[in-house]
C-alpha cells in the first residue's frame, strides 16, 4: 500500500514521456489502446522468472524493468526472488538501461525506474520484535542475508525499517499529510533541480542523474559539513558509490526543504538511510 501510494506521488509524465511509455506498453500488449499518462506501477510476484523481469526471448522482448520505465518497480518479499533475478538488477539500477544479447539480435531497452523493495527481517518475520520471538535457525538467517549481495545493497539508497503500529493508531482517524500536498512539494523540488541544471546547461532533470563532476560543481558543502561527512563515511566504511549517493540524497532533502545549501542535518538524514547491517 505504501509503494502504490508512493507511485502516485510522482509528477505526471510529460508529452515526450507519454509517447515513449505508451509505445513501450503498447508493444508489450499491456494496454487496451489507451494512453499511459501517469508513471507506471509494476509489482511482479516473487516467483517471476528472470526473462519476465529483465526481458529476453529468442527475439528479445521487454521485461518488467522496462515496463516500469519512468515509474515504480515494486518487489515485495525481495529476498524471495531468485538470486539471478536480484543480481541482474545491477545494470538497470546503475545505467538505467538493460541490454539483452541473443543469437538472433541485441536489444537495448530503457529501464529508468525507482525500485521499491520490501522484505522481512528474517524468514519467520519476528526478528527484532518486542512481542514475538524469532524461531529461525542461524543457518536460515545466514542464507536469507546472503540472498542480497553487497553490490545490490550498495545500490539501494534508502533503507527504512518499518516497525509495528500501535493498535490504537490503527483504529484512529488517518490524520497524516495528504498525498496531494506531498506531491506539490515534490514537484517544487523537481523544479528547483531543473532550474539548477538548466543554469549549468546540463541535460538532466533529477539529482540522481548527476555524475561525479556535477556533484563537485552543484553541491557546495561547507568545510564543517564536508568534514562530518568524511568522518561518517570513514566510520561506516561507505563505498565510493555510496558516498556519492549520500551527497545526492542530502541535496534532494535540501531541495525538498527549499534550502539553498546542503546543511549538516541534511547529510545526517541521508546517512541514516544507509543500511544498518552490511554483510
Amino acid at each position: 500500500m505504501l509503494a502504490r501510494a508512493f507511485s502516485q506521488l510522482l509528477p505526471d509524465l510529460s508529452l515526450e514521456e507519454v509517447l515513449e511509455i505508451t509505445g513501450i506498453h503498447s508493444v508489450a500488449g499491456s494496454t487496451q489502446g489507451e494512453l499511459v499518462c501517469f508513471p507506471p506501477f509494476r509489482a511482479p510476484h516473487h516467483t517471476s522468472s528472470y526473462v519476465s523481469i529483465i526481458g529476453g526471448g529468442t527475439y528479445p522482448k521487454p521485461g518488467e524493468v522496462t515496463l516500469a520505465h519512468k515509474g515504480v518497480l515494486f518487489l515485495d518479499e525481495f529476498p524471495e526472488f531468485e538470486k539471478r533475478v536480484i543480481e541482474s538488477l545491477r545494470q538497470p539500477l546503475e545505467d538505467n538501461i538493460v541490454s539483452i544479447s541473443r543469437a538472433k539480435g541485441t536489444a537495448v531497452f530503457p529501464s529508468n525506474f525507482i525500485l521499491v523493495a520490501a522484505m522481512n527481517p528474517c524468514p519467520c518475520g519476528n526478528a527484532g520484535s518486542k512481542k514475538r520471538a524469532c524461531i529461525c535457525k542461524p543457518s536460515d538467517l545466514d542464507r536469507y542475508k546472503r540472498k542480497l549481495s553487497g553490490p545490490i545493497i550498495d545500490r539501494i539508497d534508502l533503507w527504512v525499517s518499518v516497525g509495528n503500529v500501535d493498535y490504537k493508531k490503527l483504529s484512529g482517524e488517518g490524520d497524516g499529510e495528504r498525498s496531494e500536498r506531498i506531491k506539490e512539494r515534490i514537484i517544487k523540488a523537481r523544479e528547483i533541480q531543473k532550474a539548477r541544471f538548466q543554469k549549468l546547461k546540463r541535460n538532466i532533470s533529477t539529482n540522481s542523474e548527476m555524475n561525479v563532476k556535477d556533484l563537485g560543481i552543484m553541491v557546495n558543502l561547507g568545510g564543517k559539513v564536508r568534514d562530518m561527512l568524511d568522518d561518517s563515511a570513514e566510520r561506516l566504511g561507505l563505498s565510493a558509490r555510496a558516498y556519492h549517493r549520500v551527497i545526492k540524497i542530502a541535496r534532494t532533502i535540501a531541495d525538498l526543504e527549499n534550502s539553498e545549501n546542503v546543511e549538516e542535518n541534511h547529510i545526517l538524514e541521508a546517512i541514516q538511510y544507509r543500511p544498518k547491517v552490511n554483510n
Partner: protein
C-alpha cells in the same frame, strides 16, 4: 492485374519495421502460400483473410483454381503476429481486380475476423511513428488503436471497424464511396479520479513515509520490514 503491392508494418523490439506485402496470382491448381519467414500466426492469416473476403461480399481466394503467392519482405525479418491480415486481404483483392486503389504511401494494419471485422493490434503508436519517419501519409488500422496512433503528428490516421469499411473508403471504381473520418489528434488528459491510496490513510510508519518522500528523486530505494507487520497492518 495479377500482381499487387501493399504496405504494412510489424513491431520489432520497441520500435516498428515496415513490411512490403506482394501478392502474385497465376494459373494452375489451387495453392495458397505465404513466404518471407512467417510465424504460425502469419501463416494462419490465409484462412482468416479468405473468410473475411468471402463474408465481405467477394469471391473467396479459395473458391478459384489459382496459385496465390504472398511474399512478405524484407525476407530475412521474422514476421510475427496478426498485423498483416488487412494488408494481405487488400493486396489479394487488388491483384484479383476486385477493387482498385493506389497503394503507395499507405500503411494497413489489423487482424481480421472471419466476418471481416478488424481487431485490435499491439504497438500501434510505435508503428505510426515509424510510418511517419518513412514518409508514409496514411495509416488504416482498427478503431480501438486509432486514439493511440493519433498521438503522432503529421500523418493521417483512419480507424476502421471492418474490412468492408476500408474497401469502400479506398476503392476508386465505386462511387459514391463511404469515407472514414480522419482521427483527430489525441490530446493528453491528466484528469484522474481521486487517488485511491492516499498517504494520509496509512497509519503510523512516519519513518517510511519520510523515506518515500525523499526517494521521489528517482533513486533506488528499499525499506525493511520488521517484526511481522508491514503493509497489511499499516493499511
Amino acid at each position: 492485374m495479377s500482381f499487387a503491392k501493399v504496405y504494412s508494418a510489424q513491431v520489432n523490439l520497441l520500435s516498428g519495421a515496415i513490411v512490403t506485402i506482394e501478392v502474385d496470382l497465376s494459373k494452375g491448381l489451387h495453392s495458397f502460400s505465404v513466404v518471407g519467414l512467417p510465424d504460425k500466426a502469419v501463416d494462419e492469416s490465409k484462412d482468416r483473410v479468405s473468410g473475411a473476403i468471402k463474408n465481405s461480399g467477394f469471391k473467396s481466394p479459395k473458391a478459384k483454381n489459382q496459385k496465390i503467392i504472398v511474399s512478405l519482405s524484407p525476407a530475412d525479418l521474422k514476421k510475427e503476429g496478426p498485423f498483416f491480415d488487412l494488408a494481405i486481404a487488400l493486396s489479394y483483392m487488388l491483384a484479383a481486380g476486385d477493387i482498385k486503389f493506389n497503394s503507395e504511401k499507405k500503411i494497413f494494419l489489423g487482424e481480421l475476423g472471419l466476418d471481416g471485422t478488424l481487431r485490435r493490434i499491439r504497438g500501434a503508436l510505435p508503428l505510426a511513428e515509424v510510418a511517419k519517419e518513412m514518409g508514409f501519409e496514411e495509416i488504416y488500422l482498427p478503431k480501438e488503436n486509432a486514439v493511440e496512433a493519433a498521438l503522432v503528428d503529421g500523418i493521417k490516421i483512419f480507424g476502421a471497424s471492418s474490412l468492408k469499411e476500408v474497401m469502400e473508403h479506398i476503392n476508386e471504381t465505386k462511387t459514391p464511396h463511404l469515407k472514414i473520418p480522419i482521427q483527430p489528434k489525441t490530446k493528453i488528459n491528466y484528469k484522474k479520479e481521486k487517488a485511491n491510496t492516499d498517504f494520509a490513510d496509512i497509519r503510523g510508519q512516519e519513518g517510511a513515509k519520510r523515506g518515500l518522500d525523499s526517494s521521489s528523486w528517482r533513486a533506488q530505494y528499499s525499506y525493511v520490514r520488521t517484526a511481522g507487520d508491514g503493509e497489511d497492518d499499516a493499511c
